[in-house]
Amino acid sequence: MSDRTGDRLSPNPRERINRGKTIEFSFDGKTVSAFEGDTIGSALHASGQRVLSRSFKYHRPRGLMCCAGQCPNCLVEVDGWPGVRACTEPVRPGMKVGHMNARPSLDFDVMRATDIFGTRFTPPGFYYKTFIRPRRLWPLYEKVLRGAAGLGVLPKRQKHREWRTEYRRRHADVLVIGGGVAGMAAALRAAEMGADVVLVDDGPELGGTQLAGEGAESAGSLADRVHASGVEVLSPGAALGFFDGIVPVWCGSTLHQIRADRHIAATGSIEQPLVFEGNDLPGVMLCAGAERLASLYGVRPGRRAVIATTTDRGLETAMALQAAGVEIAAVADSRREGNADPATKERLEDARVDLLTETTVVGAFGRRQVKGAVLAALDERGQPNPDTERGIDCDLIAVSGGTIPATSLLLQAGAKSRWDEQRGAFVPDSAPEGIHAAGAVAGHEDPAVAEASGAVAGAEAALELELGDEEDRSTLEADREALAGGRVVAAPQAVPSPMPGAGKRDKCFACLCEDVTTKDLTYSIEEGYDSIELSKRYTTVTMGPCQGRMCQLPSIRQMARDTDTPVSEVGITAARPPWSTVPMGVLAGRPFEPAKRSAVHGRHRELGGNVMWAGDWRRPYDYGDPRAETMAVHEGAGLIDVSTLGKLMVRGPDAGEFLNRLYPNRFDNLKPGRVRYGVLGDDAGRITDDGTLCRLDDDTFYVTTTSSGADAVESWFSWWLAEWELDVHLTDVSQGISAFNLAGPKAREILSGLTDLDCSNEGFAYLDGKRAHVAGVPCLMLRIGFVGELGYELHCPGPLAQELWDSLMKAGEPRGLRPFGLEPQRVLRLQKLHILVGQDTDAESNPFEAAMPWIVKLDKEEDFIGRWALENVQARGDESKLVGFTMDNGAVPQEGSVVVDGKDTAIGLVTSSRFSPLLERTIGMAWVPIDLAEDGTAIDISDEGRRMGAKVHLAPFYDPDQEKLRG
């Protein structure tokens, strides 16, 4: 691709480019020269590349249109990232830019056939109608449709799809959205009155539309004052929406979540396109876009231009482009003679520009880019008269259908809108408290008036926050008066109705993003989608990357014409975020994955622990050999880190009563220094958690919970404590107390060597809780046995946990001690038929049917949670039962396999299953109907359709008489 320096204009004082510094990048593999300060779009246009993208549905060529990031026409892929707007993305040396949505190339796209031959077959909603039969082919259709739809392709590999966006929370007194003169004036005024202000602007520098025009200098000096005033400027930054007071602003690699007390929308206005045949051809540009290209980047938008306008805007563009060296072939002004600003008109005449009043553009011709325009005179009804059509050769059609206020953020914030006949636009009305509008969005288009309106909004916001003084109040009054006398309303305009799209020459696009033609809109109305909201959903008009900026008003006008309804009654579609296009990854933000780790996590790593998620903890699944770890517990000793258990201190004179009311068994009669198992249930008697409780003294209980249930149990306890108002204090010490289970026949020997405590069976009996120092570390020791061997659960302060772990490991090494992980623990506990709440129980399980009837003390005097329900369960009798089983064939059925009857109907569920290396057979737990819950009963288990025989086993598989545990 050549560097077409011929399309560069002579330097002008407003241009952003540095002609002394050349930058090279590639587009579709070809080298492009640009100047520092260029955007990809300006550089490509200067190099002669007019087609930048292909359209969404018909794959039509598209080129620069607005040059302000407002339309869908210039989306390209940059360094593998799709969906980048070429007209706002600055060039960087070496960047790789490519087209999107065209195969095999941008110049020759086979899918263009849809435009040429397939239009008839692809009306709105065609995919609901066409691809439904035969149904079995849907997966194929889906694949084809998915391949054809969408804009751009994400990088294939996950690691290339990831990038990082910071979330930054920013509180402010005042947030100003929009960095044009109104926004700058608002920010400056509020800051001068003492407010903490954030100003957001989507351009690379403050100044808005003034930057490309004669107001550039004064906008520049206002910007300097803003920067000097301490206002935090986020630029270029896109305000994405308004979410209950939070405005997310995407700015580079950061998503700022801005929470401000007051908001000022100075979002400006949006120039509207005209709808005519071929209005999407490269070379059809908005007037402001053509001016920006010429003024900011010194790039000639075209050599010979036709201007079509409904306001003075087009006349000004004609003069600006002519001054820049573009030949103006004609200016078609849809207004009647005498409606243009006389001074502007006079300047136009002086410049010898041919002004055609009551004339509009009805077509653009050219195959891949504009070669000419067709103009026609308007009749008394404002419709083009076909008899007056005439063609004019040109390579640029600059259009301006007037401007509409950019109200989306205001509407999202709760403002209402109303149709303003004089401005020909929906304008904001009655903004909610704390939300202000300034500048063009509030109807103040003239720069001087816009600045005054900004100052008023800034002062009002600051005063509402009780900032400023009497002088500020009088200044505000003066500003308000000046504003009232200013020119508020835009010049009169006459917007021709969108072309009906008869297809004489080409398609008329109401929506460029989604390739919705005026014909499509008419079609949708004929099909019954005759409200703008319904039509939007059916045709997807306004749902593309421009978010309605270019297409909302044209589609509303079309709906009004086709349904013969006033525009004011057609109404406006709901404003929804995001207002600007944003990658999903930006919204996701930096990934936070909170994980708890034990105080000896470092040791587990050193010992080769395979760390996995267990609830919100990271803990070792095993240390490389789960079988050997299991056998070590049976043959010598094992040490497992159970610090993940929930741990609560329950203290106070009413602690016993409190626990009596929460648990179905008794705790007020538990002696200090003793431990009891507890199953926690809800009001319906269903099991929610379990754990052991140790009474430390008369008023204090140490309660353990399951690892994943700790937070829920703490909340449950707190909730009931608030309700019962007992003299009890709760403290959650789960994360501070480390706990290790030392288990196995050698456990006593190991422990005895590290403590002065009498560890004999008499001195430290089963279910005793003792406090003593172990290897110098203060511990609470519970003699319990979840894994079925003689065992001690040692609880100690986290900061000393590593000392204790190391001492135990050292003392145990000669006795065969080895660390064991979660997996061996699961096998060991299964051998004892000890349940895991949440795995062996579900939201329906009660203690009776979970084979723990002994834990329910219905003879307790006090009421307890779930008592009524459990009495009913007892009266009704068990319907199912949690039982153990062994497999006949030695296979290990998956957890979640079903117990089936003779007809293969599921009648039960396997909750746990493992191969026990000690017992050398497969064991498990399952819920079965009560009539099968007999020792030795044969049951059938179906694992993904594979039917296997098993036998019910009610007693623990290992040490059923608890001799090892108690010995």
Binding site: R169, A595, K596, T731, P799, L800
Partner: protein, 248 residues
């Protein structure tokens, strides 16, 4: 009374030495090149091998220091009892919700009207424990639970400290909304936590100690992106105003 298995300083000599207390993430500090020193029975990070740069971070950007060694106690009682116990130990001052009281290197932080968190330099942990228990035993119904190990704590210090927090929490930390001594239970990096503004741009972040490594990673990473870094206690000490309350 408190219980010795909750008190990490209640150690006994064993095998010729007394067990040392350590941060739950000492291993991560060692991985990062930490030099370990000793402070009131704790193994603490003196520096990460770049003391000058660590001090500079505290002065010019942001430094994160592990202060797991601070003593912490939870006092629970009815509102009047809490106020009177705190007042007795904090020079007649009582904390109002949202504002902590700093007195002689102890922070009294109101979690609720009936629950106060006392945070002390490790050198004074025993003394504060004894004083609190004495006061509580004289009250009708008050309990003191040691939570030194249950709560991890990091100091976040420097002109960019607020920016580091802004990456992880929605708390409004502007001086007007969160002045010196401001204290707030708040979610930080999606975990429950508490934040205390000790002075100027020095903040104490408290969290469940199970989240110590997670929070450390989150904050060091945020600090590094802001030009800051992990700092040892030497750098922290140098940056703290002399006579300021609490840990450093």
């Amino acid at each position: 009374m408190s219980f010795e298995f909750l008190a990490p300083d209640d150690v006994k000599a064993w095998d010729g030495a007394s067990p040392m207390q350590r941060s739950p993430i000492e291993w991560a500090h060692l991985d990062a090149g930490a030099k370990i020193g000793e402070r009131a029975g704790w193994r603490v990070v003196s520096d990460y091998g770049a003391p000058d740069r660590e001090q500079a971070a505290c002065r010019t950007t942001v430094g994160i220091a592990d202060l797991s060694c601070l003593g912490k106690f939870e006092l629970q009682a009815d509102q009047a009892t809490v106020a009177s116990i705190v007042s007795a130990l904090a020079g007649d001052a009582t904390p109002g919700l949202g504002m902590a009281v700093g007195h002689e290197s102890v922070w009294w932080c109101p979690v609720t009207a009936e629950r106060v968190l006392a945070i002390t330099a490790p050198e004074r942990t025993k003394e504060i424990r004894t004083a609190l228990e004495e006061q509580a035993s004289q009250a009708g119904f008050a309990s003191v639970t040691e939570v030194t190990s249950a709560l991890g704590s990091n100091s976040v210090i420097g002109p960019m400290a607020r920016e580091a927090f802004a990456r992880a929490t929605a708390l409004d930390m502007r001086p007007a909304s969160f002045p010196e001594r401001g204290f707030a239970p708040v979610s930080v990096a999606r975990t429950p936590g508490m934040v205390l503004r000790e002075e100027g741009d020095r903040f104490l972040h408290l969290f469940g100690s199970g989240y110590a490594q997670y929070n450390w990673t989150v904050f060091v990473d945020a600090a590094q992106r802001l030009g800051g870094r992990a700092v040892g206690l030497d750098a922290l000490r140098a940056a703290v105003t002399e006579g300021a309350p609490a840990g450093a």
